[in-house]
Subunit: 203 residues, 2 copies
């Protein structure tokens, strides 16, 4: 690397991004040096994201609307079903399936004792408050669909949330794990196939 | 992608970087959203690179020094040998070999008729001016080492530069192509091995 202080700082900042190693960061930095216009646009984009995007007060997804995001503001969605996801980006995936027309709630992560992420580090208290508010307003939430990742952290979070939801008498469901559509059973790993067998659907 | 204008703009700018596809750009943008501090540091790094880094007046590498870069300012380097490279980053590679202790000259690319890059789009006129100035100052350049990539564009540029250098009576050399050290002849492609045979060195 050319020993230029500001260039090295840029490489360092770029290499903090996920999946960007020191070598890639160098290549990006040189490209940015070659294109001042790109550098300028990138900088402006960073500023306007920081200035305009914030968390939705209701579902904790990202939004640039005044208070609530367009999913929360959409009058055509059902209020009595809530889909809980780990990240704001998961909302787009669940919505894209076209099957779910209720509301969302973003946890911003999953319980992970190994990374010292407990329930208090997530938007879980906000989930209970939201359920209480709906109850108090006479429009109780009937079902909470847990659309969390089928990994250790997701499983832990599902167990935790389901226990509290059951105590509150609210139906808790989890999206199914199994063989992806269009794939070949031959190529599916043992644990996924095991889960698919356990979760088999009566015809 | 969440339909947020400023977020989409950030993704667009990130995906203009080399090797960053739309999917990676989305992942980076979400990470930047999660870490306002990273966004701020990245922005400041972009600004300071734009403000501080410019081309060296002599060799056309990047520098943050007032006029000439540290390679041009280094009094311990020889003035009579010039190493011509395509990109500023190549200087670090050539210098890192520890074998070359002369000066550098950056072309900022190579001749590529397919991409409509001709000699006028590169720092080639500046190379001739530099050679003329050295001549006029009574410290003529004795040898120009062409350390260009061994690909179609590099080969074309080498042929072009060598022709003019010969006309001017200056020794022109090119770094050798051949089998990389530590590699296995079994795994080297035919063209490289052919070049290694053509360029064989008498013992």
């Amino acid at each position: 690397m050319l020993r230029i202080n500001s260039l090295e700082k840029l490489v360092h900042q770029l290499s903090r991004l996920p999946g960007i190693g020191p070598k890639t960061a160098q290549r990006l930095a040189y490209q940015i040096l070659r294109q001042p216009e790109l550098s300028q646009s990138l900088q402006e984009a960073l500023v306007s994201v920081r200035e305009q995007v914030h968390l939705c007060e209701r579902c904790f997804s990202y939004t640039d609307e005044a208070e609530i995001c367009r999913y929360c503001a959409d009058a055509s969605r059902r209020d009595d079903v809530l889909c809980v996801v780990e990240e704001p980006s998961d909302i787009v995936r669940v919505d894209g399936s076209g099957v779910f027309r209720g509301r969302f709630h973003v946890l911003h992560g999953a319980i992970s004792p190994l990374d010292s992420v407990g329930p208090d580090d997530l938007k879980i208290a906000e989930l209970w408050q939201r359920i209480d508010r709906a109850q108090a307003a006479g429009k109780p939430i009937e079902e909470v669909i847990l659309a969390l990742d089928p990994d250790l952290e997701g499983d832990t979070t599902v167990l935790y949330l389901a226990k509290v939801l059951h105590e509150r008498g609210i139906k808790a469901t989890r999206i199914a794990s199994g063989v992806p559509l269009g794939s070949d059973i031959d190529f599916v790993d043992d644990r996924t196939l095991g889960r698919a067998l356990e979760n088999r659907v009566e015809l």
